[in-house]
């Protein structure tokens, strides 16, 4: 079952399209990493996902067919926004009470237990907590709602490495124990291989990459050839080219299951960071054909 489905999703602000032609099917029970340069459509997609923004065209349904923003969608999705906005003057205990009263499903004892475990006092004002504590509070409140989908918008950006580790450990544990799905918007590309199952890359208002991480890593290669003998590669879509007098590197995506390489070319695997930067730096808005079936 898919946890999120979009068809031709688009959002326009004035005369600019922040996002366009997004067709996504995100699998359930997985962590979907959403990456992209700032201002390139990522936040727009997230906002539509959690019901804060309405689409201009197309549809977006969640949790198996409910329109995003509908009561069923709101009930089943918990959102931790960037910078974890919480009411600064309310105490932690008040925040628990508030969240309890704004939701039908809320496991207050679970939230309390988790916060006690972390040493966060219920009498503390939310605004006085450290960055890591605020993140854990926001996360505890979100998870106590027993959501089916947890949406996180760059939650670990302001956190130190230990706080970041603890935060992600909590998210992963919730995945293991409750089987929740997670959509995580992140700039921390290095840790995505460890943490994400599925990758969606949005650049220049379009979805450029959408697939399981393993498949994507298999599909992309860095081809190095002598500049003098460089020629078109069949069955490959070139994402980025860098060349010097002697060498030309091309980051490619194999569009056919078997792509023939010229004899003098070398090919190596690329990591997520390299792959992502390649797309970021070359965001020509051409939709790429989806290749399925190439997997380890």
């Amino acid at each position: 079952m898919s946890i999120v489905e979009t068809t031709g999703l688009g959002r326009r602000y004035g005369s600019t399209w922040a996002l366009r032609d997004a067709d996504l099917t995100l699998p359930e029970g997985r962590l979907i990493a959403l990456i992209g340069p700032n201002g390139a459509g990522k936040s727009t997609l997230l906002n539509m996902l959690v019901g804060l923004t309405e689409p201009t065209t197309g549809t977006i349904t969640v949790l198996g067919g409910h329109p995003a923003g509908s009561p069923a969608a709101l009930d089943g999705i918990a959102f931790v926004a960037q910078d974890m906005p919480l009411y600064r003057n309310l105490t932690v205990g008040d925040m628990i009470h508030l969240t309890r009263n704004l939701n039908v499903t809320f496991d207050a004892s679970r939230a309390r237990a988790r916060l006690a475990e972390l040493g966060i006092s219920e009498k503390q004002k939310a605004g006085k907590l450290s960055g890591g504590q605020r993140a854990q509070l926001a996360l505890s409140l979100a998870l106590a709602r027993h959501p089916r989908l947890l949406v996180l918008d760059e939650p670990t950006a302001p956190l130190d490495p230990l706080a970041r580790h603890e935060f992600m450990a909590t998210v992963m544990t919730a995945m293991a124990e409750d089987g929740i799905s997670v959509v995580l918007s992140s700039h921390l590309l290095a840790e995505l291989e460890r943490v994400a199952d599925h990758l969606v890359l949005v650049a220049a208002g379009r979805v450029r990459v959408d697939g399981p991480i393993g498949d994507l890593l298999d599909q992309h290669r860095l081809i190095t050839s002598p500049t003098s003998t460089v020629r078109h590669l069949d069955g490959c879509e070139v994402i980025e080219t860098t060349s010097t007098g002697a060498q030309t590197h091309r980051l490619v995506r194999r569009t056919e299951l078997v792509a023939a390489l010229p004899a003098d070319a070398e090919s190596r695997a690329v990591g997520i960071e390299e792959l992502t930067l390649g797309y970021f730096r070359n965001d020509t808005p051409r939709p790429a054909p989806v290749l399925t079936g190439v997997s380890r």
């Binding site: 804060l52 923004t53 008040d94």
Partner: protein
């Protein structure tokens, strides 16, 4: 695997209203305390001066004979010390607007400004129910409190009105008495709420809403209130202060005479005119220029609203205010629904 199955039937129960009541209470706690403190402070002043006034009034009523020097003196001092506008009156007049706008504007504007709407509007309750739970009790609450205060102002005014020192229709108090006080506060609230959703920032919202409120209050006092019911006219020279004078002019044989002509006649009769003030010295044995005018067939026409129309006007004014406030709140909800992150 990805077959688009029809959306499963909605099995989500909505959040119960009594749960949201806690949210409302928590949000308004400080506003409530602040409002009550302000109103209480003013109330104390009103009660204290009101008691003084009543004492003086009772003494005045008891004074006999009415035409004696002593009673005249009492009368004069009563009028002087209680009849004038107290320094608080401008403050009190703005009060419903201040209370309403400050209660209504930050409600949604602060959420938008601080980003907490990203938390509040993604909870299971949804933004519309959340807004209803916050806006409606707030609107009713601020209206009720201000309305109670308005009743107190009525009580305070009562000796002055009975004695004929001032009119209940006068602009300096009308909007802060009775039902109108509640309605003006309600309008302030609705303006604040709409400005809050529109501006998404507290300060511009408060400023805009208050300016709009003030504009409407001015128009109501200066123009509208004179016309709720057709004004009456009289040619009596002395109109009881209970009535509210709108305009005054002279006519001869049914035709309106310009003020310049009247002024020249008065000056010829010995009056001194500077600007709007006419000083008439009646010398011993001389003639009052006013009497000269009257004897020549000039008549002074006064257009006024009788004080007895007070409650009628209160209901008329409150009526259109409530309708306007309801429309503004409706617009607030409409804009809220459309508001994109």
């Amino acid at each position: 695997m990805t077959a688009l199955a029809p959306a499963p039937t909605l099995s989500v129960r909505p959040v119960r209203w009594h749960r949201l009541a806690w949210v409302t209470w928590r949000r308004y706690r400080l506003t409530l305390v602040g409002t009550v403190l302000v109103l209480a402070a003013l109330a104390v002043e009103l009660i204290v001066t009101g008691e003084h006034m009543r004492t003086a009034y009772n003494a005045l009523q008891a004074c006999a004979p009415v035409t004696s020097e002593k009673c005249h003196f009492m009368d004069d001092s009563f009028r002087n010390s209680h009849g004038g506008n107290s320094f608080l009156e401008p403050v009190m007049l703005l009060l419903p607007g201040i209370l309403g706008v400050f209660a209504g504007a930050p409600l949604i504007a602060r959420e938008l400004e601080s980003g907490t709407f990203r938390y509040a509007w993604t909870q299971g309750v949804g933004r519309m129910r959340w807004a209803i739970a916050l806006l409606l009790p707030g609107a009713l609450g601020i209206a009720a409190l201000t309305g109670l205060f308005g009743m107190l102002v009525n009580w305070h005014q009562q000796p002055l009105v009975s004695y004929g020192v001032s009119s209940r229709l006068q602009g300096s108090t009308f909007a802060v008495t009775g039902v109108a006080a509640a309605a003006w506060a309600l309008l302030g609230f609705a303006l604040g709420a709409l400005a809050g959703v529109a501006w998404r920032r507290v300060l511009p919202a408060v400023a805009t809403a208050f300016v709009a409120w003030f504009g409407l209050a001015y128009v109501a006092a200066d123009v509208l209130r004179n016309r709720y019911l057709s004004p009456l006219t009289t040619t009596k020279m002395q109109l009881s202060a209970r009535n509210f004078q709108i305009d005054q002019w002279w006519t001869k044989d049914g035709v309106r005479v310009s003020n310049t002509k009247i002024n020249s006649i008065l000056e010829a009769g010995g009056a001194q005119i500077s600007g709007h003030s006419v000083k008439i010295h009646v010398t011993q044995g001389g003639t009052d220029p006013i009497q000269t005018l009257l004897s020549e067939g000039y008549r002074q026409v006064t257009q006024y609203q009788p004080g007895s129309r007070y409650w009628a006007f209160q209901w008329i004014e409150s009526g259109w205010l409530v309708v306007l406030a309801a429309a503004l709140l409706g617009a607030t909800f409409w804009l809220l629904r459309r508001r994109a992150a």
